[in-house]
């Protein structure tokens, strides 16, 4: 720290370099530089290692896989910003996939009715997690584990071991690499993901809800004393987390034609990894755009790993190392920023 007199005497030259440094440090908070560099490196690496990596079809395939992951990590991002973890993501994925295929294939509900039902159920049940965690000050980790188990159990009882029906055909187009959006040759799932990313990103930065969410995540006591409706914020974040998982569930049902009880499992660890690798952390740092990059990064990485012939257990190890690298880089970054 420089003394005040010092700062005054060197005002002009300092101001200039200070401004540049300002832009850099401010950029660091908003733009995940480290992650973008890693992503670019990985893409170059993939293009040189794997034949056909840059073909439009494989790019779309990767983007679709990334959109599943990214959407599953959307709500997770909000929950992490509040300082919690949502372990019920897989449960809502499975519930929604089951509802989509069973209600459509076996009971013959029209899809809009199914969609409305799924939205309602996930918002309400997800909200319950948020309410309980906030009201009784319980670790969301535990509450969502409990709620997730109940949801999974209920799904199991309802399905009762039989093969669920099949998902509507248009959902398959929605998530197909050759699917089209209003005539454009872009898979609708990718369009949906990008729109949501922009939307959520703007909501977080520029609305009262977003600012209140950051305040609550940063210091819940200070937020309460500033009359931020913290419970409403918690309920909304967990509702949205369940909803985003449910969206992934419906898309996955379209992707595989039906549903099974384990299809949500990989998304717990991966959604968290996408959030953390993206650079969002407890204490309200980061945003959904970080997670967006994180999801892309993970998908490209796993595509390369599979392409080069790594097993899934090797992949897990590499994910773990990736988390450590990013977290280490992040804490360095924080120390730097505090010093500047």
């Amino acid at each position: 720290m420089s003394s005040p007199t010092n700062a005054v005497s060197t005002d002009t030259p300092r101001a200039k370099s200070g401004r540049i440094r300002d832009i850099l440090t401010r950029g660091k908070g908003r733009v995940p530089m480290l992650q973008l560099v890693m992503l670019t490196t990985l893409i170059i690496l993939g293009a040189s290692l794997i034949p056909g990596f840059t073909r439009l079809n494989s790019v779309y395939s990767m983007l679709i896989i990334a959109s599943f992951l990214g959407l599953a990590a959307l709500g997770q991002t909000l929950v992490v910003l509040l300082g919690g973890l949502d372990l019920s993501v897989p449960a809502f994925i499975v519930l929604s996939a089951m509802l989509t295929s069973e209600l459509y294939g076996t009971y013959g509900w029209p899809f809009p009715a199914i969609a409305a039902f799924i939205v309602l159920v996930s918002l309400v049940v997800g909200g319950i997690s948020g309410y309980i965690s906030h009201k009784y000050r319980v670790q969301p980790l535990i509450v969502t584990l409990g709620v997730g188990t109940v949801v999974t159990g209920a799904t199991l009882i309802w399905i009762g071991g039989k093969q669920p029906g099949s998902a509507p055909a248009f959902l398959s187009n929605f998530v197909s690499p050759v699917g089209t959006t209003f005539g454009l040759k872009i898979p609708p799932a990718v369009v949906l993901w990008c729109l949501l990313a922009v939307g959520i990103g703007l909501i977080l930065r520029h609305t009262k809800f977003g600012k209140s969410l950051y305040a609550t995540g940063s210091s819940i006591r200070a937020a309460e004393l500033a009359l931020v409706p913290t419970r409403r914020i918690w309920v909304s974040a967990f509702s949205l987390s369940a909803l985003s998982a449910a969206v992934v569930g419906a898309l996955l049902a379209g992707f595989s034609g039906s549903a099974d009880l384990t299809m949500g499992d990989p998304y717990l660890f991966q959604s968290l990894t996408a959030v953390i690798v993206g650079g969002t952390a407890f204490g309200a740092r980061g945003d959904y755009w970080h997670t967006f990059i994180g999801a892309l990064l993970l998908t490209v990485l796993s595509t390369i790993l599979i392409g080069v012939g790594f097993s899934s257990s090797d992949q897990t190890i590499i994910y773990g190392i990736l988390i450590l690298v990013v977290v280490a880089g992040y804490s360095r970054d924080r120390a730097l920023r505090d010093r500047v």
């Binding site: 200070g18 300002d22 401010r26 908070g29 520029h206 609305t207 009262k208 600012k211 209140s212 950051y214 305040a215 940063s218 210091s219 006591r221 200070a222 937020a223 004393l225 500033a226 009359l227 931020v228 204490g283 309200a284 740092r285 920023r337 505090d338 500047v340």
Partner: protein, 519 residues
């Protein structure tokens, strides 16, 4: 009270070497000098009281003696031998120094017996047989409480007084050479306290020395053989039993040199039209408290004072409905009576509260200065659902000028600011809502002098516009400077109400200690 004076043979002979000698001990926390030069001698079998205002360095001294903190300078010696500085609490205990603190650190979900013997055994080794532990614990508790206590019940079911007795017992079973009682009587009921004092004189008869720290003059008068007074981190006086009258102690604690603080008195406007803005009706801070009927008038600055933990914090928070209390808080700010039952009510009545602990209750770390500032007034900036930062920036700029907030961009994280500037932003957060009544909970704690001036200047300007303030302050100088009226709290009651013209440093401090008429 009601205690016989300590017997004659406890008075120490002056020629013997002291059990404990503290020489020129200094300790700083960052830039804050908690102790600058502390000297003290403790003789075998005596009770030495250490007194001083809040922030005089008593707690730091205790922390050094018990090994919780390292000293920066100075020496400690026991029985004439110089001690290696303690590096952790275990060193203190093995040297025979054991302390009991004001807070009651019982371990819940554990029995009374386990609580008393906690930390005595090793991890795998029992140093005493259980039956023996029971026997000793029983004996000590019987002496302290005058009755048997079930050793197998869980401590959380005990009364606060009994819990504190357990903590004292925890110290006593270690058979300390030097026992430090740091405000540890505040949680005890009178009967237990008297028994503790009796136990103390018995212990001193066996050669134990006791350092007794208390804010209660009557207790000090009752049991201390000698008194050492600290002021702003220095030892300023030693008094024997005969010399230590309340008047002498108070003037020693406050320091004569500060008596001319009167000069800095500035022009004050004692209320523009005297309209009542806020009142409490029979507000009770505890079941035994008397009801408080308090009125706050327009443009007035009322200070809440007293020793830490005597109800002033509770009172201030109750005004914003943050604490459950009996009685009512009524606001008249909007030209009609409105009961305050929640913080939202208070804000609707244009009453705002700036919390005490900036780090945990004030700032949003990692968030920008702008977001930290605008959080309470954001609704003004919303247009078509979008928060327009330009509007809050205009408001922030106004405060940046009046409060002289030193910052470069409102988009920098708040943590890049100094403590004083962070506090200014937190203050500005609520002042920006153009309140009629502002409740400030120790607004200048840990804030440097320049920043204090800026804050006082803004307060003065606002009172001229008819804004009223209630300020909890732990600093006597601050109260003397800003308050039109001061409520001194003692044991959850308003002990005395002092008008500006009547307020002197001596009067204030002696009323903290429960004396209404010094001078």
């Amino acid at each position: 009270m009601g205690l016989q004076p300590v017997s004659e043979e406890n008075t120490p002979a002056t020629s013997v070497t002291p059990v404990l000698r503290v020489e020129k001990v200094a300790k700083s926390y960052g830039h804050t000098r908690a102790l600058t030069a502390c000297d003290m001698e403790l003789f075998s079998g005596e009770i030495l009281a250490v007194m001083g205002e809040n922030g005089s360095g008593k707690s730091t001294l205790v922390k050094i003696l018990t090994g919780v903190q390292n000293l920066d300078e100075g020496t400690l010696s026991m029985d004439g031998r110089r001690l290696r500085p303690f590096s952790n609490p275990v060193d203190g205990i093995s040297a025979g120094i054991v302390a009991v603190f004001q807070e009651v650190p019982i371990i819940e979900n554990q029995t009374v017996l386990d609580n008393i013997w906690v930390g005595y055994d090793g991890v795998f080794r029992n140093r005493l047989r259980k039956a023996e532990k029971r026997h000793i614990a029983d004996k000590v508790l019987k002496v302290l409480l005058g009755r048997q206590l079930d050793l197998d019940q869980h401590t959380e079911s005990l009364s606060l007084s009994d819990q504190q007795a357990c903590c004292i017992a925890r110290a006593l079973v270690k058979k300390p050479k030097i026992l430090i009682l740091d405000e540890s009587t505040s949680a005890l009921d009178i009967a237990t306290r008297d028994r503790l004092f009796k136990t103390c004189s018995e212990l001193t008869g066996e050669g134990t020395s006791i350092i007794f720290i208390s804010h209660r003059m009557d207790e000090v008068m009752a049991i201390a053989d000698r008194v050492t007074v600290l002021r702003s981190g220095r030892t300023v006086g030693h008094f024997t039993r005969g010399e230590a009258t309340p008047e002498v102690l108070v003037s020693s604690m406050t320091g004569k040199t500060f008596a001319q603080a009167e000069e800095s008195v500035d022009v004050r406007t004692p209320g523009l039209d005297g309209k009542v803005q806020l009142e409490t009706q029979d507000l009770k801070l505890s079941a035994e408290s008397k009801g408080i009927n308090f009125h706050l008038r327009k443009g007035e600055v009322v200070a809440l004072a007293g020793l830490e933990g005597h109800g002033q914090d509770h009172f201030l928070r109750a005004l914003w409905a943050l604490e459950p209390v009996a009685g009512a808080v009524v606001a008249y700010t909007k030209n009609q009576a409105q009961k305050i039952t929640s913080p939202a009510d208070a804000v609707r009545a244009s009453i705002v509260y700036v919390p005490r602990d900036r780090r945990t209750e004030g700032i949003f770390p990692n968030q920008s200065i702008g977001d930290n500032f605008s959080i309470a007034t954001m609704s003004q900036d919303v247009q078509f659902g979008v928060v327009k930062p330009s509007r809050s920036l205009t408001r922030l700029k106004a405060f940046k000028e009046t409060l002289k907030i030193k910052m470069s961009s409102d988009r920098d994280p708040i943590t890049t600011l100094s403590g004083g500037n962070q506090q200014k932003v937190v203050l500005a957060r609520w002042l920006a809502s153009e309140p009629d009544v502002v409740l400030l909970n120790d607004p200048t704690r840990g804030v440097d002098l320049g920043a204090k001036r800026d804050i006082y200047a803004l307060m003065r300007r606002m009172t001229q516009q008819g804004v009223s303030f209630i300020v909890l302050s732990t600093e006597v100088d601050e109260i003397l400077e800003i308050a039109d009226r001061t409520l001194v709290f003692r044991e959850n009651n308003v002990f005395v109400e002092l008008d500006r013209t009547m307020t002197t440093r001596e009067k204030l401090v002696s009323s903290f200690f429960g004396h209404e008429d010094s001078q």
